[in-house]
Symmetry: C2
Subunit: 351 residues, 2 copies
């Protein structure tokens, strides 16, 4: 199914979220509706700011009242990047983030996209949309690059849960398998658990128990443990870990990429000839390092909920937020929540 | 105190350990004794193999009997890289690894250096040397590069313990502080706990409790939580985490560095001019990526035990194993175990 053939596709955008808010989200929205004539976007946020920003694209309030693809849902509050999740949940009930989620819950939108405060988005999404039946915990999932340019690896949980017991890890394996199948079109995706070593005796009891549960579900292609050094080796399509480890791992990738880039610059600048030559290589190098911060470009998804929520990076630019919108479209078209529900129920009945 | 002024310094080397065994460890030993006239090395391993290897350096068995700096401790067994720790502990009592540790325990050597099976070395070292009084768990510590070429950051635990409770994390903070002071000569080292965010509300209960314990010890300069993206930012001198997270993080660094290197190569090779220019830049690039795998070059230390044990990487080359020997020398001279014992006792009495 091509993205362009979708009918009646409606997404709710948290226009105010992210470091630059409407300056990034509105141009992304315009890009998205231009590319998909059947896409309708509900822009949740401050009406005055949104209309001002839309005017830059020659869309007047009058145009908007008859617009087939854009509408505004006016909200009076914004979740700030430093709002505590519990505070936002209690006190920001008329925020752009909350309303975007409410629209999904009410069935007026099929997915929500936000670049706002991650913790607040988790809490609100969990509270508003609730988990799917039989899902214990939602997870944050994103895809990382691998040595093979055409292949990605999904990793979850990237920080929605601090600790995950064995059954939660098992469920993440099943949910990741659905994402890899539906979103990346991989048949029989290879599922691995992130561990200290590849040997079966390594790791904590709950990881060993999760390994057992995954290997007992015949619908899952569980391939065993994987080490940190092999995350990018294209040995697995989905890597499962708890949110603490996932968060630290993802941020470490960002840190290493930044360090290597900085060290390269400093080494190159020590030699005039190399320095001159490097200016030619620099754009290519930059491209490599950028790909190491994938959630900034593709967005991450909060899965296991009764609705679709895609989180774009706080400092996403327009093309990154556009990618997050497209990710949400894909998940709607592929009916990811329904498939996750089905796969977990299948797993239960096969046990 | 200069390394060269040491008197009566004796180390026990597990000559058979590592992927290449004596082919790497013997040349490193020769380098070390040449550089330090007061260093004595006890070469633990297969006597025949050792004498054959020494002959390549024109040292005959006759020379050896009168040698001031080298002696052989003949052993009949070798711990293989795939031996299970429990198996090695039970069945390899006459191995080069075990005997090197026994020599430290008997007071015949002041430290042990091995590039052998990590799990077996942990188990044997823990069993033979025991932890220092009041130390709950030993930890594996190593230093990583930072953005500042002159500064390193110590990280522990890198894999000796799967899970660590709050008091163990607290003790790691104290032990790391001693290492940074004694080995790197840093006054009042900045100690941080690795976490999912910098805010005090983030992370698990045992991390929050460890933060409390560290901040209550006035002899420790505890600076708070640090995220994965800031490991290399020179914001902390010591980063504390449990062995699972530390192991995954360290291996992820290796994985990212390998990925970035591979991606750069592939991008560079797409353009003939860039490809030609890259050959000039390549050695510099390689240097950067090598520095991302520090335990391969500096060795890692198992601390919290009553003796000094330095672990060199399994595929260490001669210069890496030489660095591990020098690391052991430094820890002997700075009396790291005694200082750790003292610091932990001080912490106890100040509570």
């Amino acid at each position: 199914m091509s993205l362009h053939s979708s009918n009646n596709l409606t997404l709710a955008l948290d226009v105010m979220g992210g470091d630059k808010g409407p300056l990034v989200t509105i141009p992304s929205a315009i890009m998205a509706i231009k590319q998909m004539p059947n896409l309708h976007l509900i822009l949740c946020g401050d009406e005055h700011i949104i209309t001002t920003e839309l005017a830059r694209f020659n869309i007047s309030p009058q145009d908007l009242s008859q617009h087939q693809q854009l509408s505004i849902f006016s909200t009076s509050q914004t979740v700030e990047m430093d709002d505590k999740p519990a505070f936002a949940l209690r006190n920001k009930k008329d925020s752009s983030m909350r309303k975007a989620l409410d629209l999904v819950n009410d069935g007026q939108a099929q997915a929500c996209v936000s670049a706002g405060n991650t913790g607040a988005l988790f809490s609100m999404a969990h509270f508003v949309l609730k988990t799917l039946p039989s899902v214990e915990r939602p997870a944050l999932i994103s895809s990382l690059p691998t040595h093979d340019d055409d292949k990605h690896v999904f990793m979850l949980d990237l920080g929605a849960n601090v600790f995950c017991d064995s059954h939660v890890l098992y469920q993440f394996g099943v949910m990741g398998s659905v994402m890899a199948q539906q979103v990346d079109g991989i048949d029989n995706p290879r599922i691995a658990l992130l561990n200290m070593g590849e040997e079966a005796i390594k790791g904590s009891d709950h990881i060993k128990q999760a390994a057992l549960e995954l290997s007992e579900n015949k619908a899952i292609n569980y391939i065993g443990f994987i080490e940190g050094s092999d995350i990018f080796s294209n040995k697995a399509d989905v890597i499962v870990c708890d949110g603490f480890v996932g968060n630290v791992t993802l941020k470490t990738c960002e840190g290493v990429a930044r360090l290597v880039y900085k060290k390269s610059q400093s080494i190159f600048s020590q030699n005039l000839l190399v320095k001159l030559l490097t200016t030619l290589v620099k754009p290519s190098l930059k491209k490599v390092f950028k790909s190491m911060n994938p959630d900034q470009y593709n967005g991450a998804s909060l899965i296991g909920l009764r609705g679709i929520v895609v989180k774009s990076h706080g400092n996403a630019n327009s093309s990154a937020f556009f990618s997050a919108i497209m990710e949400a479209v894909k998940e709607v078209e592929r009916q990811v929540p329904e498939k996750i529900k089905h796969s977990l129920e299948q797993g239960l009945s096969s046990q």
